[in-house]
């Protein structure tokens, strides 16, 4: 592998890892703060990608589609939290697993009813549809760099939101002691609703910006969900920082695994998870 192909794989790995981080950060926040295991989180990624497809073919612009999609996914998040997830806070994990498993079936079937089961492509916006030449034969698509940049900006914003704002303070307080927060007169239910909507929006956004690269296909949500579980397990439940490190690790391991060990590509990330579990059963990092 020469230096340029290595660079390309490295950039691909980072870009994949950063996208995973967007999905996994919502997942780990919902685990860490609300104590809920949400199997349907991958569905939000899938819904985002399908929104990018339908809305961009309706409006003719991916940017408009993304803006509309974010609004819709926040509304969806608030609705789901109000209608379903708020009933789950004091239930055991088994019931959470079942309800969210049922939700996956519902979302997948609705997707098949509304959009069908075909694979669809989404166009890269014209302004980003060019490549950066590396050598005479190799070049790197700018859209992928754009994805990475957007994800990094979002990661920084998320960090600032949690560490530097009043809402972030409430989120951290809610994570460590729900009853105390309530006793102090803060509206913990509102915090939960916002965190959940934030998680849904992040996952849907990841799906939307990934759609031009990965295309849009049935079952895309479940693949991402399980990889994000691996990310959360490696990073430590509830740790945003852990999710970032683990997502990059998985992104790189998966990308280079596919190049170096194509036979075992599907298995590499799970072996990595097993190794880390053996070393640190609680994950690399604990807590927000």
């Amino acid at each position: 592998m020469d230096i340029y192909s290595f660079l390309i794989q490295l950039l691909n790995g980072l870009q994949y890892g950063l996208l995973l981080f967007l999905v996994a950060s919502g997942l780990t926040l919902i685990f860490g703060i609300m104590g809920i295991i949400n199997l349907a989180h991958g569905s939000f990624y899938m819904i985002g990608a399908y929104m990018a497809f339908t809305l961009s073919s309706l409006t003719g612009s991916l940017f408009v589609a993304v803006v509309l999609g974010i609004v819709l996914s926040v509304v969806l998040g608030i609705f789901l939290e109000w209608a379903l997830f708020s009933h789950l806070y004091h239930r055991d994990h088994l019931e959470q697993v079942l309800l969210t498993y049922g939700l996956i079936l519902v979302f997948e079937e609705l997707r098949s009813l509304i959009v069908g089961n075909d694979v669809h492509g989404v166009n890269v916006p014209a302004i980003l549809n060019w490549s950066l030449p590396l050598t005479d034969t190799l070049s790197y698509p700018v859209y992928r760099l754009f994805i990475s940049a957007v994800c990094i900006v979002l990661a920084v914003l998320l960090y600032l939101l949690i560490k530097r704002t009043r809402l972030g303070m409430m989120i951290r307080a809610g994570a460590s002691n729900r009853e105390m927060v309530q006793a102090l007169g803060l509206n913990i239910n509102l915090v939960y609703r916002l965190v959940f909507a934030l998680g849904v929006a992040l996952a849907a956004f990841a799906g939307m910006i990934a759609a031009p690269v990965s295309s849009v296909y049935p079952g895309m949500g479940t693949g991402v969900l399980i990889i994000c579980f691996v990310v959360v397990v490696i990073g430590g439940i509830g740790s945003i920082w852990g999710a970032l490190v683990a997502a990059l690790l998985i992104g790189l391991a998966d990308t280079f695994g596919k190049v170096l060990l194509p036979e075992a590509a599907g298995v590499v990330v799970y072996l990595l998870m097993a190794a880390i579990l053996l070393w640190r059963p609680e994950g690399l990092f604990r807590r927000v």
């Binding site: 379903l84 519902v106 079937e109 579980f229 959360v232 036979e263 599907g266 799970y270 998870m273 579990l277």
Partner: protein, 322 residues
């Protein structure tokens, strides 16, 4: 208690006589349900009695099935005496290997890690040449059960397969019943209700959990083998997480922590599936919606439905004790 016994006897007798009454289609359907019941029983040992919610149990079912699929020769029948024990052992060994990693994990962690490892096995069969890829493997012959050259079961015969599976279901049921009444089984149930206490009493909790996980995997492998035998076909979908989700759903439908419940749950699940499939092509929507409503509107009391289910399906008498 005596009423329970009578009800049980009636159910066993009904199942034993069923092939005489039903058409071939129903004999095959009930065979499939009994295989799922063995699968559900194996998971009940983990979820209902050891308190470990595994969301990756389909992996061991699939491994058991693949042992037959990969070992079956192209032009002759595989030997039942060789492949069946091997399927059980292979699934058990896989569960042991995964168990070493996962039984230390708790709660949400355990759920996620079992799912992730199951997905790993899925990819082993889906992606590698060893697993023959996403199309799966078709078998040309049913396994042969011969003693000294004479076939004692003919698995091409629907009724023979039915009785073989029925006998194994009864065996697994009785085995688990005895196991749960043994000191080992009591310890597992102790771990479910209070792990810390069991640990401070000096029980090696880790090894008990590991043994339970391994045994559950091995029994799931048995169910998987039977399924491969019945359908003559294996594919990576056997290991998919839908399969893991569905078997959990069977336990919930039948009521957790009751061996009857696991069996009833398998029947209830297939009945639901058949009804929904007859209504619409998009039956998963109905199934998913039903699960969601079930969890929302019956807080903690899924067993209350289970009780009603059990009474109406098994014909247990109404609870008139109080």
């Amino acid at each position: 208690m005596t009423r329970n016994r009578t009800a049980l006897a009636v159910v066993v007798a009904m199942l034993a006589l069923f092939p005489f009454a039903g058409a071939t289609f129903y004999t095959e359907l009930v065979t499939k349900v009994m295989i799922l019941a063995i699968f559900a029983l194996s998971l009940d040992l983990l979820v209902g009695y050891t308190g470990l919610v595994s969301f990756g149990h389909a992996a061991y079912f699939g491994i058991g099935a693949y042992v037959l699929g990969l070992m079956a020769p192209k032009y002759e029948a595989a030997s039942l005496w060789l492949t069946l024990p091997l399927a059980v052992v292979a699934a058990g060994v896989a569960a042991l290997a995964v168990g070493v990693f996962v039984v230390r994990a708790k709660g949400i962690y355990f759920i996620m890690v079992t799912l992730a490892f199951a997905q790993m096995f899925y990819f082993v069969f889906h992606d590698t040449a060893f697993g023959r890829g996403s199309d799966g493997v078709s078998m040309n012959f049913k396994p042969a059960a011969e003693i000294a050259g004479t076939a004692i079961f003919d698995f091409a015969n629907v009724t023979h397969t039915y009785y073989f599976v029925f006998a194994l279901l009864v065996l697994v049921f009785v085995f688990l019943r005895l196991l749960l009444r043994s000191a080992f089984g009591r310890a597992l149930q102790g771990i479910r209700s209070n792990e810390h206490r069991m640990r401070s009493l000096g029980f090696p909790v880790y090894f008990y959990k590991l043994a339970s996980f391994t045994l559950a995997g091995a029994l799931a492998g048995l169910a998987g083998y039977l399924s491969a035998m019945q359908f003559g076909y294996v594919s990576p979908e056997l290991l998919s997480w839908h399969q893991s989700g569905n078997v959990l759903l069977m336990l919930i439908l039948g009521g957790l922590g009751s061996l009857y419940g696991a069996v009833v749950g398998a029947f209830a699940f297939v009945a639901l599936q058949e009804i929904f499939q007859s209504l619409t092509k998009h039956w998963q929507l109905l199934l998913g919606g039903t699960i969601v409503l079930l969890v929302i509107f019956l807080p903690g009391g899924l067993s209350s439905v289970a009780g009603r289910f059990r009474r109406s399906v098994v014909g247990e008498p109404e609870d008139d004790r109080g």
